[in-house]
Symmetry: D2
Subunit: 331 residues, 4 copies
């Protein structure tokens, strides 16, 4: 039996804790949260105990910690968990600062513990199947990747201020998809150009951030990637990508709540996409956690590592710099 402590009982902590509790051979032992009632409620629902982070890390029976707390705590908790000899599952991002994220990678390496970063899109059944087909050569050599990534609505300005901005907070996932899909053979970003605007909510201007972005990346092998992002799509959560190769195209659509299509005098109407990430990526979160524990047991390689987290962070930094300067960045 593998014993697990979950740090953070917010939205994402609850998802991971539930999925952990349902896995055979895994026991959710502790839940920690700065808000005691959050920790108590989640622990109660899932048959776990409330513990402080200190106590959980000090408990020798704890094998794994799952870090689901706020972004600014990630690098500290990774370092402490590694020092305590715990294996680590940590939500993205590693850290908003690349040097701190790199320090985490070193700490994990020094402690010889396993550490996986939660880029859940790599586990989405649709995206993952596209990745598998690409690797199988179904569309030949990849050439172009078009990523559409739009949220149903912006978070509060307070959140945005602390988030590191849209490139680090939201596009981090898209940069990881770029690397996962277009750089699977070791290719790398060579040139990046980013721009952005405030189009959905003037209040975002005051945060010094933008709410709509357009990024282009060219790799060393000349592959092209375009990412378009918005904080607000009127029709909901839009998560698609298309990768074109020398032999064809793989197009990954949204998931919908039902397959009902209604025909009437106004047209033919289908469901809009799932409401937000908790719905769209419900299967992905389940498969991600299962992958973590299976890989931990088998001694295999995680599908997303601290190095992946660091690499995505560097692209986010470059995009933010390109947007600010109005000029392209080369690597």
């Amino acid at each position: 039996m593998t014993n697990v402590a979950v740090f953070g009982a917010g939205r994402i902590g609850r998802i991971h804790a539930s999925n952990i509790a349902a896995l055979p051979g895994v026991k959710l032992k502790y839940v920690s949260d700065p808000v005691p009632t959050y920790a108590a409620e989640l622990a109660g629902q899932l048959g776990a105990e409330v513990a402080s982070i200190e106590a959980a890390l000090a408990d020798k029976s704890v094998d794994v910690v799952a870090i689901c707390s706020s972004t600014d705590t990630h690098s500290d908790l990774i370092t402490r968990a590694a020092a305590a000899g715990k294996h680590i599952f940590c939500e993205k991002p590693v850290d908003l600062s690349v040097p701190r994220a790199e320090a985490c990678a070193q700490a994990v390496k020094d402690a010889n513990v396993a550490c996986m970063i939660g880029f859940q899109r790599r586990f989405d059944p649709t995206f993952n199947d596209a990745s598998r087909r690409l690797a199988a050569g179904d569309i030949g050599n990849p050439e172009m990747l078009i990523i559409t990534s739009r949220d149903p609505g912006a978070p509060p300005a307070e959140y945005i201020k602390a988030s590191g901005g849209i490139f680090r907070d939201m596009l981090i996932h898209d940069f990881d998809v770029f690397r996962w899909i277009l750089c699977a053979d070791g290719d790398e970003a060579e040139w990046l150009s980013a721009t952005g605007s405030v189009l959905t909510d003037p209040a975002i201007t005051a945060t010094g951030d933008v709410d709509s972005t357009a990024v282009t990346i060219r790799t060393r092998k000349g592959r092209l990637c375009q990412i378009n992002t918005s904080r607000r799509a009127a029709y909901g959560y839009d998560q698609r990508f298309e990768v074109m190769g020398s032999l064809g195209l793989l197009q990954c659509g949204n998931h919908t709540p039902t397959e009902v299509v209604q025909w009437n005098a106004n047209g033919i109407h289908a469901d809009k996409p799932e409401a937000f990430f908790l719905q769209r990526y419900a299967a992905a979160y389940r498969l991600e956690i299962a992958h973590f524990f299976e890989t931990l047991q088998s001694g295999g390689v995680f599908k997303s590592t601290v190095a992946d987290g660091v690499a995505a962070q560097k692209l986010a930094d470059a995009a933010a710099a390109s947007w600010k300067s109005g000029q392209a960045v080369t690597f």
Copy 2:
């Protein structure tokens, strides 16, 4: 805590037992099966005990039995469970004999226990949403229902012989969909015509059954329903229906494993439907069992009752008679 005994550890028993075990407030206490190793394996996986049917029915702490054993045992087990004062979830069909199914209805009534029949299609998210929209008046008054119901491959001839034939074994679900969708306001079948052929496997001829059927039903209100069925669709499990009303059409498509669409020199290619009922109706089975326990607790009305099971059975008998005689049946 509601204690449950599951009778039958085969394919469908395993599904229901797993879903029962995962429900909060519900405890899977016993698993019974004529094959002891089946029972032991399933019980072991889910933390339950193996028990004989007799022992499970005799245990006062057991509140609910879930009957997932072979069709020919259903009516006997319903009767015995009712006599023992247990609430009952029973897989379809109630019984291949309408009189025996009606006797079950009476036994349940006499014992004043709750009994739900497992017509899982009523819980499929897509089908269920169509039913909801129809009830909400989204397409006006229903007029026509077209049901396409095709299996990926025929069961062994041995199974077919004991199944009561395609109308009772396979179309029973389609007759229930007809009643659920087109007779929700109390309308009833008035005229039925059925025909069939052996097209997919000559071996089926020897069983005295057909593998391909076409049924038409007209209701008292003049609504029309057409059902087409095959034991073997080369492209997999095909479960769709379309209901047209005075204001529009609701079209219920298949569910697919992913939303990947591949474009190449040969065309544009999407996933075929989920492989078979365990995949297609995975969500439906989960929601069905949840509905059973929620309704049991709330004292509400089940979405599918013994009376629904009896009514579907009568339509199956009529269809089989129509097919044999070559003539329509009126009710």
Copy 3:
């Protein structure tokens, strides 16, 4: 240069006359219509002359007549045109009476003229491609055919009274599709059952007809066909069929005015089908007339002959009889 006289300047006559006038090597010489202004207007637009039927038939330079007049004139005009040695294109149906239709077939044969009946669905690019793929073996042996055929609205009761009823007026096309798709190898209808109701407009009851029908046909080889028809679909003109074979399914969808898909807070919205037959079958009518003249010149076999017209008429009669008696018909 092939000289052509068009009889009938109504809706369908205008379509055919325009398509004829645009063909290279073909000259639209005369237009006839009982309403002189109709004839004059159409002839004027297309650079043709107005002539009486008698004069057109008497003109030795006329090679072809295209009969686009009302149904009750078809058999008389076919007979007269054949006697005058003209090749004939005639809109469906040959005649509402099977014996009269058969007499037309004989007259055409005796006069040794070519005669094609206008079943335009055989020329629809989508339907025609499905037929081609079926013939090419793409889905193996055909087993089941599901035809959905719904008009956007019923014609006036006056029209219905003279039309021969829904089975002869509207389903004649569906019976032809059945024969074209499911009987291409010489298979034939063996058993037919039809029913119907008045669901869309109570005024239709007074005409002695129905507005909604459901027909099932079983062939000698055991193939199954289901046809569902309505005089009124709230969402427009719905013309689809699906044919399942031993290796797969061919699904023929509607044509839409555009490929715009609109996403908003209410869902994902596509165009409804083309408004009615003039729009949906615009390409089919053009290709049909081109086929007629090409085949006339090459001496080949028409894709739809008088024999096809007679055969469809017999199925329509059988369906009407089955509906009235409430019992199946065998052939």
Copy 4:
């Protein structure tokens, strides 16, 4: 009757000449081409005469010239036709040199003749309907435009050398779509970044051009446009765009030859897009020419003018410059 001379009897000249010949009230009088047999063949098919450009321009009865000759002749022919007092339809582009294109605009103005530039995408039924809906406010204020524009295969290297390069030859259409869709209210490009690679054919490297491009444009109002282009898509001609607004998204898909969908053991298969521009834009070319003559008669405003041609050319120049320098361009 409006008399027309067509200059150029190549691929696009044949399309326009046929469409002109079929218009009521319009007479195709002359066809000119440097290759006499081309001119003779086309003139013969359509009942026109062969004439030299000089003769056609000198004929007072000629009202309109349609310039369908090679790109490098456009500005000269526009200037001469304007001087001769003819109204002008000219295929895109006006000229590869912006100053020469501007000189054409001036010449047309000075001569007070009408001149329309053939950006046929503005007449594609799908694209045009999206433009109409956008103007009607169906998706609120436009924010983002994603254009996918891929050819089925590269033209010969000889052609590419003379074409002005991919940005001027191929993306000229995409730049026009950007202006048509995102700048309909007078908005303008403010910032542009372009990159590209040779991915499909190493022979293109020798021409000094690229075969795959990614362009981003930001407008004065902050709207974002991303264009991705390839000279070769293995699955055919791919012409789509999506425009997102504050209230929703308009997605313009490809047109396909048929609506047949084939299901088999490998999946669900639909047609790939129309083969190339002659097929995809067949309706657009027909509607474009009809619009030209209708507008000429009504005295209205063309949907695409010389000014539009000049503006698209400027964006193409900017994109080529950005690609070469690796840096963004501001306007």
